[in-house]
């Protein structure tokens, strides 16, 4: 019998959750000065 493949991260989290995680990650990068200026 083949070993069942490990579930990928994209299978564990929905795209909603990914979006929240990415957004919070980006916001924290801004908050702690890693991303200083974001032009528009």
């Amino acid at each position: 019998m083949s070993a069942s493949p490990r579930p990928t991260l994209s299978a564990i989290f929905s795209s909603d959750t990914w979006a929240v995680l990415l957004s919070i990650g980006l916001a924290l990068l801004v908050r702690f000065g890693v991303l200083k200026v974001v032009p528009w």
Binding site: S2, D16, A19, I24, R31, V37
Partner: protein, 363 residues
């Protein structure tokens, strides 16, 4: 399976994962190119108008990006190579909404004043009720009615896109609702200042009216600024109050549609609602709360708000690229008619409310 083949499966799995991520790149680049193209056209027109002393209408990048996407999708089509990346526009939408929380500090509401704030709530309730009624009268698809109602009551394009994600409506429905809101917003730029001057509205009253009745934030700011600088500021602040309520209205619609879908054999309604519940709304509220409690400095709030704009830029490009005019034409003229009638009635009602409140309470 032998151990050897198990070990061999691991690099095979990682290589397929790598090819999955690489497969997103062409479409992502196309989203960025179309979105930035829209932004470039907006800026080019503004620069051209300024250097030639011409008063050109400010058509924002949103409309340009959607138009470029529409042209590509409905002429040459989107090649298969790009489709997976283009489909990520929904992910960028949710990311944009969460980051949008930074632009809406709940404390802003307090600065507007009690009467104006009451008008915001009245406008949202009236617009939701009237657009829903009108959409039903015209027998529009129920989710299209929801999108038009949210677009007319809360904050135009962002609210429509947020609701589309939350209630799983078709891209065609959201494109139609966005097109209707943007077209009517562009008309309001020319009509609202004329009405305001004719009725001799004060800067504050005109600003509140514009903030209540014009649905897309950029057009709200422009229509306000066309009247006076003060009117522009009040319009943006009033509109910000409407925008601040986006999460709650989207939440309401998400719960409504999720509960409608539970008719057959759902044992655990709470779990079902949680599964259907758009988690990005919570992210939006979290970022908004962090902004409200002073977790970010002002420049940091601006930076997070700009990140949101970039995410939306990719989203708007995707909206155009994923929209089929053939499918849209199947919808007919009725959605645009509903949008037009609804917007005119809402503009008149809010004008009456603001006019009355200004005469009674001196806004």
């Amino acid at each position: 399976m032998s151990d050897t083949s198990t070990i061999a499966a691991v690099p095979a799995q990682s290589s397929s994962r790598l090819s999955y991520w690489l497969g997103l790149v062409p479409g992502l680049l196309l989203l960025a190119a179309v979105g930035y193209g829209g932004k470039f056209i907006e800026q080019f027109i503004a620069r051209y108008g300024k250097s030639h002393h011409l008063v050109l209408p400010n058509i924002e990048y949103v409309l340009w990006a959607i138009l470029i996407g529409l042209i590509i999708a409905n002429t040459v089509g989107v090649p298969t190579l790009f489709r997976r990346g283009v489909a990520t526009y929904d992910f960028w939408l949710k990311t944009g909404i969460v980051l949008l929380g930074a632009r809406f500090i709940l404390g802003d509401i307090a600065r507007l004043g009690g009467i104006s704030l009451a008008l915001v709530f009245i406008e949202i309730a009236l617009a939701l009720a009237f657009m829903t009624w009108l959409g039903k009268r015209f027998k529009l698809a129920p989710k299209l009615v929801s999108l038009l109602s949210v677009g007319a009551s809360v904050c135009g394009v962002s609210a429509i896109i947020a609701t589309q994600g939350a209630i799983e409506a078709d891209e065609e429905d959201s494109s139609y609702a966005i097109a209707a809101i943007l077209a009517l917003g562009a008309i309001s730029l020319f009509v609202f200042p004329v009405i305001g001057h004719t009725l001799h509205l004060s800067d504050h009253a005109y600003g509140v009216w514009t903030g209540l009745a014009v649905d897309n934030t950029a057009e709200t700011a422009a229509a306000g600024a066309l009247y006076s600088d003060t009117a522009g500021k009040i319009a943006v602040l009033t509109k910000t109050c409407r925008n601040a309520l986006i999460g709650f209205v989207v939440l309401g619609y998400a719960i409504y549609w999720a509960s409608k879908g539970q008719a057959a054999g759902i044992q655990n309604r709470a779990a079902f609602l949680w599964q259907k519940f758009p988690k990005f709304v919570l992210g939006f509220l979290l970022i908004s709360l962090l902004a409200t409690i002073g977790f970010f400095t002002k420049p940091q709030l601006l930076a997070v708000g700009n990140l949101s704009r970039w995410a939306f830029l990719l989203t708007f490009a995707g909206v155009g690229l994923r929209t089929s005019v053939r499918e849209l034409s199947k919808q007919g003229i009725r959605p645009l008619l509903v949008g037009t009638i609804g917007e005119i009635v809402i503009a008149l009602i809010t004008l009456g409310l603001v006019y009355g409140a200004d005469k009674t309470f001196h806004l």
